[in-house]
Symmetry: C2
Subunit: 417 residues, 2 copies
Amino acid sequence: MSEDPATAVRLLAPTVRKTTTRLADGRELTYYDDSEPYLSGAATRRLDDPRPLPYRFADVVGDDGVARPVTAPQMRYDVLTGEWIPMATHRMNRTFLPPADANPFAPARPGAAYQDGEIPDTDYDVVVFENRFPSLVAVPGVPDEVASLDGEALWPTRPAAGRTEVICFDPNPTGSLAQVTPRRMRTVIEAWADRTLALSAVPGVEQVFCFENRGKEIGVTLHHPHGQIYAYPYLTPRTTQMLRQAVAHRHRTGGNLLRDVLEAELRSGRRVVAESDHWVAYVPAAARWPVEVHLAPRRDVPDLPALDEAERADLVGIYLRLLRAGDRFFAWPAGSEHEGEPITLPYISAWHQAPVREGREDLRLHLQLFSILRAPGKLKYLAGSESGMGAWVSDTTPERIADRYRQVLPAGVEERS
Amino acid sequence: MSEDPATAVRLLAPTVRKTTTRLADGRELTYYDDSEPYLSGAATRRLDDPRPLPYRFADVVGDDGVARPVTAPQMRYDVLTGEWIPMATHRMNRTFLPPADANPFAPARPGAAYQDGEIPDTDYDVVVFENRFPSLVAVPGVPDEVASLDGEALWPTRPAAGRTEVICFDPNPTGSLAQVTPRRMRTVIEAWADRTLALSAVPGVEQVFCFENRGKEIGVTLHHPHGQIYAYPYLTPRTTQMLRQAVAHRHRTGGNLLRDVLEAELRSGRRVVAESDHWVAYVPAAARWPVEVHLAPRRDVPDLPALDEAERADLVGIYLRLLRAGDRFFAWPAGSEHEGEPITLPYISAWHQAPVREGREDLRLHLQLFSILRAPGKLKYLAGSESGMGAWVSDTTPERIADRYRQVLPAGVEERS
């Protein structure tokens, strides 16, 4: 190990205590504890990672016994689309792999069957750590410089020098974010905001993306409730598109695109699903997914760290209500062999934040929550038109989606759910 | 029926006879026959559709017994991305539905169990017809005018006045395009070129897209070998991106982007998979899919109709070889319970053609053939980064894909395969 384990303890919001440490291979791990006695980081708890993980940037010893420096992950510029594509050209240390049926996100509880997970402490509330097998990672000593594949000007390459992190929402492996308590949801929001702030300060990071993939239908194999945080060293295609549209809108009208969209949705009202003091949930007028809802603050806010105390407190309830409505969105038809069985919605929950440097006046924080489930047991597949041409076709209408959300949206959430 | 069935017979290439007719509901259907005695359209064969299908643009009679005009499908402008989204706001006549286990693409062979398929004749070689449930269709009498949803300037709407067609590659329901004879593949190429020409002449059509989706992994439920042809009334996002990149490249270098990419791939040679007299197959330098190969003509050609006789004849063999290589690309590992079982590659085969009006000097015909299969039994899912941010991450490298293609590419194809 050439990095010193650094441990920091700091109080965030009234109810959240933050404790930072490092895993055995040098990755950063941060606990966000929300209840006294604070679970993690106390002197009596295990902070250090006992696993024999080699330092992740240590030289890789090949089959020939020769040690070679770790290769940094690369991205290539796709000249046909103008997009960067990170590629698995690198080979990190992969000597340690957990057993396939183990849950690496479980706390290291005494007596538990699996003691080699990612979280060294015996319990936690919310925890964030760097992904063990990252597609984006800055390797120390590798300069962030553009080169050319095969010496061709058409094919720039760059180190994929970003960060990918995992956030565990709850220690309960069979829970879900929809079912955490409001207090725990508030901790998750604090963790997202805190990580966004920290990652925005990392040199080379252009954009921070907090998101959750849920459900085997979108390839999630680890069912412990968790999300991910990507810090991209470039502007993503969707953000680039939205920024281009927002700038064009400002030049044409003088207005802010996302604020004007929100105001138009409020004027129409036809697709508004829920309103709270500080937030509005609506199905966008041109929603492309079979289930899609956006959640935006009433105030102009570029990103999660910019939310004030009242907005954060108010977000808890409306976000939980939207997630819980998702699990009531579809029902098996009467007479079907599955009648009455719950349908857990597979979904992607995507926090669109303004980039770190560009477009902070033009882009505005909003959540895009969507699903590929179009009916019980039926998925929307992204086939030729979507994947080949990027041309979406919707099988439903935003108005139908909004009507269904209004039917199934719970009125409120209780502290103990 | 208010449209007259029109029947036209015309010889295309040396070996293809074209016969156009209409189905009972007014949809156009065209046979492309490649062998004497020509199968379809002879005086002794059945050209007319005997099914009691109502005219597809006839008024819809509601549950209340009142007849109302068919609603034309709409698209909405997604102001956040600048993309048009066709939506299923319309309700076409859907009184006739084939039984779930029937194959509607089988010819109406005498004595066959299912006589209510889409193809009236008792046999065919290749056949193209309008999709019965189209997401894009021009409804007679509906003007192609922009309106505004809820009266808001932010939300333009337009009729989704394009065309979607189905192409059956072969009458054998258990076959595949990879396994047709070279003569049949040539007929398919002629049909694509002929439909591209015809659809390019339809008022309002901006772009014609010939493609094939294959495999249940991408949602294909009908296994009869078939593809689709979409005629979009707008430029698709991928084409818009490529055109933007090509124009910028021309301004910067004076060159044609797609030609320069081809020449750079030939100079490097590292990712070239196959070459023939008139075509080059290569894995692009920034390929984003687990399996991806592009096939481009050596000559500058905007679209399939612009291919000359030698290029069409030469395309047959190299395209068949690529498709057959796909079905040998993955193998179950030794010792696995599936060892030795063939792995049929799920794929999307996408013909990128220059748009009808714009960019015909800048864009250049090429095929993009790709798969979401990343290993035996393992799919690449488009989760948060791809679906939320449009940001692809590749788990492999273009060089590995090219190496594998070179291992499994057959040397040639025989007339009887």
